[in-house]
């Protein structure tokens, strides 16, 4: 099993623990990764907003690189997944537009033929690897751990481009993986909502309010931690949780795990290998449970 790995900017910037845990987990699972080192940022929706054709061209460039590797693209970020899924849907549906975009790539000797498949680790594990195969690798079931899923907008909406219209179960994969790790998924209102990251610089009050609302919601439903496939959600829910606690006038202190970190714990990797010590909100409550 081989993928063209697109780690994305955040796992190589603000969330180095994601890059490390992703690589380690794939290696334990026997998933071969060929990293696309020269791929550019997806634009995270910001470039699409400025200039859709520019963002689609950058993504077509990444798709063309994956075609050269001859393997599906693997992402570890809900936002990368969403932006790429939308760009890919557009480029695949409209050959004329694709030709136009390829015109911008020609000078660099690249051409996107329209065959790229883009999958987040979340989807790849359930759809390609198989939950049973994953369970067979679990050496440390996380019994007693209650984990609240937090998906991130971009991997949920719009459902058409994300293939959720054909595969509605994609809205339940986080719960399935949490359960496969031996932990208990927590159901609460916030799981499909927005973490607030996109408006952090525009309206910090509303952004931090979202952090407080969803973390308290998860905690109120008994969660020991939250798990997210999106590093941008992680940045806000972890990085601004202390501010949110101040705003809400309540203690929160709920650790925010990247998806591969939770998987890694169940696969027997150590907290240090998964860099669980590199969080703003201490992850001790989780690592202690995992040790017991």
């Amino acid at each position: 099993m081989k993928y063209a790995w697109y780690p994305g900017c955040v796992s190589q910037g603000g969330c180095p623990e994601l890059y490390t845990s992703m690589a380690k987990v794939c290696s334990v699972l026997g998933i071969e990764l060929e990293e696309l080192k020269g791929a550019a940022c997806t634009g995270a929706g910001v470039l699409t907003e400025r200039n859709p054709e520019l963002a689609d061209t950058l993504n077509a460039r990444t798709f063309a690189m994956a075609e050269q590797v001859g393997a599906p693209l693997l992402t570890n970020c809900s936002t990368c997944q969403g932006v790429m899924s939308q760009a890919n849907a557009k480029l695949q549906a409209d050959a004329k537009y694709r030709a136009r975009v390829n015109g911008h790539l020609a000078a660099e000797g690249l051409e996107y033929k329209g065959t790229a498949v883009v999958k987040h680790l979340l989807w790849a594990l359930v759809e390609d690897y198989g939950l049973d195969n994953f369970k067979a690798k679990v050496v440390r079931p996380l019994a007693g751990l209650k984990a609240a899923p937090f998906y991130g907008c971009y991997i949920l909406r719009p459902t058409k481009a994300l293939g959720i219209d054909e595969t509605p179960a994609r809205r339940r994969y986080l719960e399935l993986l949490i359960a496969a790790c031996g932990a208990e998924p927590v159901d609460y209102d916030g799981k499909f909502k927005c973490c607030g990251f996109p408006i952090l610089t525009m309206n910090e009050k509303n952004s931090v309010n979202m952090v407080g609302t969803h973390t308290l919601d998860a905690k109120g439903h008994g969660a020991h931690c939250m798990v997210t496939p999106c590093p941008l959600c992680h940045l806000n829910l972890d990085g601004y949780q202390i501010k949110a606690a101040g705003m809400k006038g309540q203690q929160i202190n709920i650790p925010i795990l990247h998806l591969p970190q939770l998987l890694g714990l169940a696969l027997g990797l150590s907290a240090k290998e998964l860099r669980l010590n590199h969080h703003i909100i201490s992850t001790q409550a989780v690592t202690a449970l995992a040790k017991a």
């Binding site: 603000g14 911008h104 909406r157 408006i199």
Partner: protein, 316 residues
Amino acid sequence: MQVTYLVKRLNPERERSPRFEQFSLEVGEYDSVLDGLIKVREELDGSLALRCSCRAAICGSCAMRVNGEPRLMCKTRVRDVAEDGQVKVEPIGNLPVLKDLVVDMGPFWEKVRAVKPWLEPPPEKPEREYLAPNEAMREVVGALACVMCGACVSNCTVWEVDPNFLGPAALAKAHRFVADPRNSDNAERLKQLGEYTGIWDCTHCFYCVQACPKDVAPMERILALRREAIAHGYTNHNGVRHSDSFAQSVKQSGSLNEGRLAVESQGYLNLPALLGLLPVGLRALRAGKMPSPFHHKRPGAAHVKRIFEKVEGPRS
């Protein structure tokens, strides 16, 4: 087909918090969720309050949430949404519930009124009718399809935390007039829309796009308004600096530099805001996750830069 309707009910005269009531009923293969609700009201419980009129997705009065998703109930087939023979119906969110499935649309209309939902033609009158090129009206037609149902507002993630936000429907309506070539006061409108509660407060969560039964795609209209505001020179905003900094970072290095983005979005001269970033920055530093100020170029960065220049022109 035998289904179970789980209906959220509230009679504010008698109870404080809502409860779910269960109804078992037989519905036809092509019946809408609304058909089932009407059956409940006519055959099982006459006290059930709901709004509907046209039953043809035109009047916009039957927006509710089915299994959590806001939709028009007359346009949604039971068989398409039933999960294990069950259909959960709730009033749309973010608006006060009057009774059962009926909400107070007052705040919704207030916001539509706040964006000046009428055309302001130029003072000099043409000899005959105002002419508008076909091409320009294409932008407007999409938003004209809005039936003011409120489905887009139901799950809006910003409205939830800040009821002052103008919201998707009103902002889509605002775009309908800004995009109309016969309108004359765009500068004024865009200035107002760029303030707090307006276009820069949207989180880009796609809920409104997903919810709208008429493909108005309110979020796309909001993004179009942002581009329009920038084109009108309203660039002194964190949202604009954020977007510029983002583009520069990717253009120069192929990837995003979050540290630079946080600082440049506030503006280098905005000292109080920059100091406000410090505690969060320091916490990140202590956790060993502060993005390095020495942002390395990705291999292929020169290639990315050429693409920017080709598609965007030298401007950016």
